[in-house]
């Protein structure tokens, strides 16, 4: 019985791999060769693949391919591709549009609810379905789940939600600040920057939530 581990270790260069990972790969490939050598249905192909030509040429390619496949930093992982990148692009586009509209039309629509006045960035809100669609479509193309797509699509609104949550917790912890703060304004601002953007992002997000991933 050949020493399969020695054969694999001698033939396959895996210098760029950590010792523990290398040993594991060698054990696994050696086990595969051992099984193939004992399995009559694959004996012909096994003999082909352990011929001197194969050993001298293709083992090197295999070693390189395995190192590439194992290298984590080579490509973005799935979570980055399906969630963080689409969400960040969505946030960046939404923030850029907000700045542009603030420059070209610095007069938000004032809505009065009871005695509270809300400055609603109406032009920005009207463009948010495009941002929502962009984030969700990118997450969809990266095979993100429906939840991941929804998060990527609503990302700008979720950032504002996080900001208001932090502010709310701060107010709750520091009674002096909380005591003097006009809470109605706080909740109305949350409505303007969290709820309304979420409602505007949703029309762009919903069509891609159940769509099969492509690309």
């Amino acid at each position: 019985m050949p020493d399969w581990r020695k054969l694999v270790r001698d033939q396959m260069p895996l210098q760029e791999m950590a010792q523990e990972t290398r040993e594991e790969v060698i054990s696994e490939i050696a086990a595969h060769l051992e099984d193939a050598s004992e399995d009559s249905s694959l004996l012909e192909s096994f003999e082909e693949r352990t011929s001197p030509e194969f050993l001298s040429v293709h083992w090197k390619n295999l070693g390189r391919a395995i190192e590439r496949a194992k290298r984590e930093e080579e490509t973005m992982n799935d979570r980055s591709r399906s969630l963080w990148l689409p969400a960040l692009i969505n946030i960046a586009v939404a923030a850029t549009l907000l700045i542009i509209f603030d420059i070209i039309w610095p007069h938000p629509v004032i809505v009065r609810i009871s005695y509270v006045k809300l400055a609603v960035p109406i032009l920005w809100l009207l463009t948010l379905p495009i941002c929502g669609a962009t984030g969700t479509l990118l997450a969809c193309r990266a095979h993100g789940s429906a939840t991941v797509r929804l998060i990527a699509g609503l990302a700008p609104s979720l950032v504002w939600l996080a900001v208001f949550c932090i502010m709310g917790v701060t107010f709750a912890l520091d009674w002096r600040v909380f005591h003097g703060f006009p809470m109605n304004d706080f909740f109305m601002s949350a409505l303007t920057w969290v709820v309304l953007p979420a409602l505007c992002l949703l029309p762009g997000t919903l069509p891609f939530l159940r769509r099969p991933a492509q690309g």
Partner: protein, 113 residues
């Protein structure tokens, strides 16, 4: 007639084949290669060079997870099982291939060949 399928097609279908097999039960590398060979009547055949880089890449992507366990002969083998991320990947992949075959059938009538 040579019934072995062109390598470009087999390469594209490898991901689907592996994920589908692992959706049924955990398997180790040799079993995966053997089952694909048997179920496709030899039309799809994995070599060491095609199987393990793909398995490791799928593991890095979080679609499958490897663990060492003794097989029926008592030898330690590295089994792979499908993760929830792998199941999520499998569903659209099946749909894509289904749509691909349907489209090809409409063009070339491959189901009648």
């Amino acid at each position: 007639m040579n019934k072995r399928i062109d390598s470009k097609i087999t390469r594209g279908s490898a991901e689907l084949a592996i994920l589908s097999l692992l959706a049924e039960q955990p398997l180790y590398g040799f079993e995966i290669a053997k089952q694909i060979d048997e179920r496709s009547a030899g039309a799809l055949r994995f070599t060491l060079a095609s199987l393990y880089p793909l398995l490791y890449e799928m593991e890095r992507r979080g679609w499958v997870e490897g663990y060492w366990q003794a097989n029926h002969t008592g030898r330690d083998r590295r089994y792979y099982h499908l993760t929830s991320a792998g199941r999520r990947r499998l569903t659209p992949l099946r749909q894509e291939w289904h749509a691909f075959f349907q489209a090809l059938d409409r063009i070339a009538g491959v189901s009648h060949a």
